[in-house]
């Protein structure tokens, strides 16, 4: 057996009130991919930040090639040959691609000044070698989210590194780009690099990883070779119990048309969007990342202003000019970006829940705390929220629980249509099942659901019908009976147009 390049032992890290990591160990081997698996909040990203010099561990040792090292700064980690693609895109919108790749370690001239020419050339050749169709002197903010991830990747590869860490690298990538990434991982393996790969997607883990390590509540609970271990076993290690039905789709009674959209258009983002949504139905919206689904949903929700077309709900035409209008009409939206658009971090849970329903919990605009608490309790308990109290800052909750607060907030408004945009993105397998179960429950009660998702199994497992979008237009609408996933992928990629 080869020697590990990187060995961690006894690593602990606490934040005020949270024990993120406790006495964990990890080894990374050259030319092998190690998957790090664990629920949301298990401490995976915290470990990544310790390895890249952003956090310092409270205790424990790090050995690189057998030598003990300390990583006090991000720079120190660079120098020890550790590089990472972080979970959040941590790049600079206003700077060029080249500078994003080389910020902090740019080539210098004899006078110690930044050598822009050399930097651009090196960045360009790096991007070309990755097969990324990008020009080094474009500004980052002009790129789509997927291209940004490629820049992040290029940045990670721009340093001569032995250890490459990827924290959920595929969360925002489309199918094709994910495939490209797999090829790249293979290449890195061949070059003998040690790779740490963090993901919530099991198909992916089984595809790229050689070894695995499982974290639960900040502790290491198991490790082994992927080939010798079944998925069930890993899931059991992860959550401490078994998870059965991941897509517990219960067929609901499909009723009359509730929402119908005709020819909705926007000057630059989408055109000619028409579909109908029936009572008790889950309508899936599939497409490659960047297909424009979010923009359409935000137009329904009154955030984006469409330039043409009509939205009809219960036979009444509406033209929402703000989210408040949409909510009043019965359309609510669970956004993709939880932290930025979903919850108001800084406000307690109960105030987040009551925010859109203040009219109901107050008497002539004067707050009634008792009513607010009652409302919040009803809906959060129904969703089985894990929280110490309702007065707790929502920012202290884990991502999955924050998502529940957002859903609770909307249920409290008695909506007609609920739009969920990537509802399980970055959510661990246990919480994911809960969200899916809950969607079934919603339609069971006669609501209609629009579910935007880029995950094929989720779309296939949950939707009654699927709308596929491509480059701002509807590329096809399919009934989910005997639907072949290949059809969806090819329609989304524009390889096949819908055979009517």
């Amino acid at each position: 057996m080869t020697e590990p390049v990187l060995t961690l032992s006894g690593i602990s890290k606490s934040f005020p009130g949270v024990r993120a990591l406790h006495d964990v160990a990890l080894e990374l081997y050259p030319g092998e991919v190690t998957a790090l698996i664990g629920e949301n909040g298990a401490g995976k990203s915290t470990l990544v930040k310790i390895l890249t010099g952003i956090y310092r561990p409270d205790a424990g040792e790090i050995h690189v090639r057998g030598e003990p090292v300390s990583l006090p700064t991000a720079h120190a980690a660079f120098e020890k040959g550790i590089t990472a693609i972080h979970q959040e895109t941590v790049l600079f919108d206003e700077l060029t691609v080249a500078e994003n790749v080389f910020l902090g370690h740019a080539p210098r001239t004899r006078f110690k000044l930044i050598d822009w020419k050399k930097m651009r050339a090196e960045a360009q050749s790096l991007l070309d070698s990755m097969g990324a169709e990008l020009r080094a002197d474009t500004r980052l903010k002009e790129l789509g989210i997927a291209k940004k991830h490629l820049v992040g990747l290029a940045r990670a590869l721009s340093v001569e590194a032995d250890v490459v860490i990827m924290d959920e690298p595929t969360a925002a990538l489309s199918q094709k780009e994910i495939e490209d990434l797999y090829v790249l991982v293979e290449l890195l393996k061949e070059e003998g690099k040690a790779i740490l790969f963090i993901s919530h997607k099991f198909d992916e883990i089984y595809r790229v990883a050689d070894r695995f390590t499982v974290f639960r509540d900040g502790e290491m609970v198991g490790k082994g070779m992927i080939k010798e271990t079944a998925q069930d076993e890993i899931v059991r290690m992860m959550v401490g119990r078994s998870v059965d039905h991941i897509f517990p789709k219960v067929k609901a009674e499909i009723g009359e048309v509730v929402l119908s959209v005709e020819g909705l258009s926007h000057p630059t983002e989408f055109a000619d969007i028409s579909f109908a949504l029936r009572r008790g139905e889950i309508l899936g919206f599939y497409g490659l990342v960047g297909a424009g689904r979010t923009e359409v949903m935000q137009a329904l929700f009154g955030i984006t202003r469409p330039s043409g077309g009509s939205i009809t709900i219960d036979g009444r035409e509406i033209a929402p000019r703000s989210a408040a209008d949409a909510v009043a009409a019965g359309i609510v939206y669970v956004p993709e970006e939880r932290g930025k658009q979903g919850v108001v971090i800084g406000l307690p849970i109960f105030q987040n829940v009551s925010l859109p329903s203040l009219k109901r919990t107050s008497t002539s605009s004067v707050l009634q705390l008792a009513q607010e608490f009652a409302l919040a309790r009803t809906y959060t308990e129904r969703l089985d929220l894990r929280a110490a109290s309702l007065s707790q800052d929502v920012g202290t909750l884990s991502g999955g629980n924050q998502q529940k607060v957002v859903i609770a907030k909307w249920l409290a408004t008695n909506p007609r249509v609920i739009i969920l945009d990537e509802p399980t993105k970055g959510i661990d397998i246990g919480s994911k099942a809960a969200v899916h179960a809950f969607m079934s429950e919603l339609v069971g009660q006669g609501l209609c659901v629009i579910m935007v998702s880029s995950e094929l199994p989720e779309v296939m497992g949950m939707s009654d019908r699927v709308v596929v979008m491509r480059e701002g237009r509807i590329a096809g609408v399919f009934d989910n009976k005997g639907l072949d996933p290949v059809t969806l992928v090819e329609t989304a990629a524009g390889i096949r147009s819908q055979a009517a």
């Binding site: 059965d244 408040a324 108001v344 971090i345 107050s362 309702l390 179960a437």
Partner: protein
């Protein structure tokens, strides 16, 4: 968690911490302590301090600024700022002075002062919310613009000759040593306290200040509320203009020069987070009182105003730094 059919849910309590305990540890308590200490120091340092008339005169040092600070507190809590308030006073006062020359009686003058304030606030609000511009730079601009218009109108002249009943607003006493200005301020403070802490409007302000995007995505009409807050700040500046003009009995374009920073200092000292999302009216009222106590107390010792401002500046930084230092000290020990 996986079983949706499960009906028994775990109970989530409303709150864990004792509200009395958290009230004791609050910012307001710190301010009350500071105010009491300054009050005692003042009484020890000057034999003239503990006197009904002195204490009454003291309130004139802050009432007008504090009236604006009430509205500014709401605005800053929502994540915006208005640097043009003092310039609004100048413009409102100038136009009132102009109206006097046309023989407008007192009620008309009050209406003009308040109306001009409101219009200026609406102008700021429209630029910030309509064109989505950062409020700090917009109001640096309107600060020059509004006062500049005053200069353009008045030049080297002054307006005077305000009717005698007008002066009651700034100089009158309601009862014994209780001035009309003080009563007006207390009334406004109660109103603003209620609006911020007890109504839907106030709740929405906190939501916007913590995260305007998420608030918008929760159905809060963010632009409309911000616009209203700018109007409100303008309106209160207009009221302050009426009070100050009535107290001075004359108008020059340089009136209330430099007040914007004092008002903001008052708000920040009152514990309102300059980045938005947190604050209380009680804190602002206490901060106004503290600033009045400091300036008046040092005034009794004939300390020059500029030295007082060192005290105020130092107080601002110290009071903000103290809780942070305390927290750091506690973390280090833990």
């Amino acid at each position: 968690m996986t079983d949706a059919a499960e009906t028994t849910h775990r109970h989530i309590p409303d709150r864990l911490d004792n509200p009395i305990k958290s009230a004791v540890l609050s910012w307001e308590t710190l301010l009350v302590l500071v105010a009491v200490v300054i009050f005692i120091l003042n009484s020890l340092a000057s034999p003239y301090f503990l006197n009904a008339w002195s204490l009454s005169d003291l309130t004139f040092n802050f009432t007008e600024k504090a009236v604006i600070a009430l509205a500014m507190a709401l605005l800053i809590t929502s994540g915006e700022i208005d640097l043009s308030v003092a310039a609004i006073i100048a413009l409102a006062s100038t136009l009132m002075g102009m109206a006097v020359q046309w023989g407008v009686p007192t009620p008309g003058l009050v209406a003009i002062g308040i109306g001009v304030g409101l219009a200026c606030g609406a102008f700021n609000g429209a630029l910030v919310t309509g064109l989505k511009l950062p409020s700090i730079v917009v109001t640096i601009g309107t600060m020059s613009l509004f006062r500049g218009i005053s200069y353009a109108i008045l030049g080297d002249r002054a307006y005077g000759g305000y009717p005698s009943d007008f002066s009651f607003v700034g100089q009158g006493y309601v009862w014994w040593v209780i001035s009309f200005e003080l009563v007006l301020f207390v009334f406004a403070a109660v109103l603003f306290w209620f609006a911020l802490h007890r109504t839907n409007f106030g709740r929405q302000i906190f939501a916007i200040g913590n995260n305007a995007v998420a608030a918008q995505f929760s159905g809060v009409r963010v632009a409309r509320i911000k616009f209203v807050l700018f109007c409100l700040t303008g309106l209160m500046s207009g009221i302050a203009a009426v009070m100050l003009t009535a107290r001075l009995g004359s108008t020059r374009p340089s009136i209330a020069q430099g007040w914007e920073l004092e008002v903001i200092t008052m708000v920040v000292l009152g514990g309102v987070n300059i980045l938005g999302g947190a604050g209380s009216i009680t804190g602002v009222v206490l901060a106004a009182l503290i600033m009045g106590l400091v300036t008046f107390g040092l005034g009794l010792l004939n300390v020059p105003g500029i030295v007082m401002s060192i005290f105020i500046g130092g107080l601002l930084i110290t009071v903000i730094a103290l809780p942070i230092l305390y927290r750091m000290w506690r973390e280090r020990r833990a």
